[in-house]
Symmetry: C2
Subunit: 307 residues, 2 copies
């Protein structure tokens, strides 16, 4: 079952950190672009190759210390066919090193269409889980839930997202005296009952932004079944203290994604004097170790986990 | 400007009908599969070729009588790289015959990611417009709006969708005494002010399901700037009477999509004794002509347009 495997991997790696593979060609080290462009030409193929090679370096550097990677499909989809090739190759490489792979696709559509998205990602052995958008309602989520159960996969439904604009729709106050994201949360938590694993969590989880700690605290109580995929840590502004309430009292219940802060760690003030661009992958590893240490330290302070 | 071009095309073709290219391999005529499988093998490549050949037949049969086609990406995305090739080839072929192409992708994500989706579709000359999901808020829509203005493209944001489950989130009552979809509508209508064309409509439109005529009537008034892309007609249950309130008093304001009822018209009770599967494209043309006639007749009855 997806969620049991995820929890066991978090335990084994002693880390709830997920590395987000959101590569941008303009931030890719020149030496990687040189190799890729020489191999495939200075074109879409070369760009896609560079993104893949960049990812491969990151994966090699972190596969033994994180349970999963999250691949944001848009960074590949932007380059069409060649981009998708890099997306699939990245997933394949991550899986080959034992990582769980979350395809961050945020798809959502009517049932007949959702079935096709589910075929694309949940029925694809390269991916362990996907993110989905709940705006169109429960019937549009069910095809993913059915496939999650059938193929031992997971889904994370958007509940309260990390961006500023998440207030526009998600924070609308309803006549039930709650916010829209709480209504979504209740719907997802109810659906998640159908896929609960041996540790009490469901393979149907939720996306809850690191940037809204108060909301996360409420949601942790209102969605007891649901593991949280937490974006927004690091570059988007979320801190260790902000994410603590995403966890339960045993230190589970959340995986914390960081993309830019990890994969471009070598460009940050903290690491730029230590690592050159040639060492971008070591910098990413150092940042993951730092981030994991800080999060685990936060959990120890809360007495959620032992030292 | 996208919306002006769309309106002029509706006038020129005398039809607000959009054909949805949502091909399913299991419903594809055998003679097409035979050709495709012989050419590419009985595999993903062959399936994708069959979907493309099927679409090509439909496009050849309807390009002179409809302003646009809507291509639902999931039906291609399900087949990975090869599927995407068929998706792009379909768009290219439709454009080559002067059709406007709406990529029904329903993407939605934080700004940095939305920019990449916009690069994938709005910055791609194959597509004239895309559908987007507003759940994550205004800041996640703006990258599409900026590109729509810059590249003369359009967007249709989900407001009230055609499926039954659309009630779950979209119909939540808010403390303002309205429904969530009305809050979304207000947000989109406000955003749409930045892209109004010479006929008074904006290149920023809305998806409003044919299956909810009462809601559409309200939304037509609350979103005066916004053209509606109306799914749900035909196979999903929407009738001519259901969609009339999507139009304004001049007979504009909406394009009506039909997918299954058109592309598989030859299998419907109405046409199956007239057309064989070899004539699936003629059947699609006949259905489009019938549908256009019925809609235009409805508009005449309302005195929105002259005979």
């Amino acid at each position: 079952m997806f969620i049991d495997k995820l929890i066991e991997s978090i335990k084994a790696k002693k880390s709830p950190v997920v590395v987000g593979l959101d590569p941008r060609i303009e931030k890719t080290p020149q030496f990687i672009k040189d190799v890729a462009f020489k191999r495939k030409g200075e074109n879409i193929e070369g760009i896609s190759e560079a993104l893949y090679l960049f990812n491969k370096g990151i994966i090699d550097a972190v596969y033994d210390i994180v349970p999963a990677v999250k691949i944001q499909v848009a960074f590949y989809e932007a380059y069409g066919i060649e981009g998708f090739k890099a997306f699939f190759k990245t997933a394949e490489y991550a899986k080959s090193l034992g990582l769980m792979v979350i395809a961050d696709v945020k798809r959502g559509d009517i049932q007949e269409v959702a079935k096709m998205y589910s075929k694309a990602y949940l029925q694809n052995q390269l991916f362990d889980a996907i993110t989905v958008n709940p705006y169109m309602g429960e019937d549009t989520i069910m095809p993913y839930v059915e496939d999650a159960i059938k193929y031992n996969k997971g889904i994370f439904a958007l509940v309260k997202t990390s961006n500023k604009g998440s207030k526009d729709i998600q924070d609308i106050k309803t006549t039930k005296g709650e916010y829209v994201y709480q209504s979504v949360a209740r719907m997802i938590n109810r659906i998640s009952n159908s896929a609960i694993g041996k540790y009490g969590y469901s393979s149907i989880g939720a996306v809850v932004g690191a940037t809204y700690p108060e909301e996360a605290k409420v949601l942790r109580k209102e969605m007891p079944n649901c593991f949280f995929l937490v974006p927004g840590y690091g570059a988007q502004g979320g801190t260790v203290e902000d994410i603590m309430d995403c966890f339960d009292e045993n230190g589970f219940g959340a995986i914390i994604n960081s993309s830019r802060s990890v994969i471009y760690a070598y460009q940050t003030p903290y690491w730029k004097d230590v690592y050159s661009e040639y060492e971008y992958a070591q910098a990413a590893r150092a940042e993951v170790i730092l981030m994991t240490g800080m999060i685990n330290n936060g959990l120890v302070k809360r007495k959620y986990i032992a030292c």
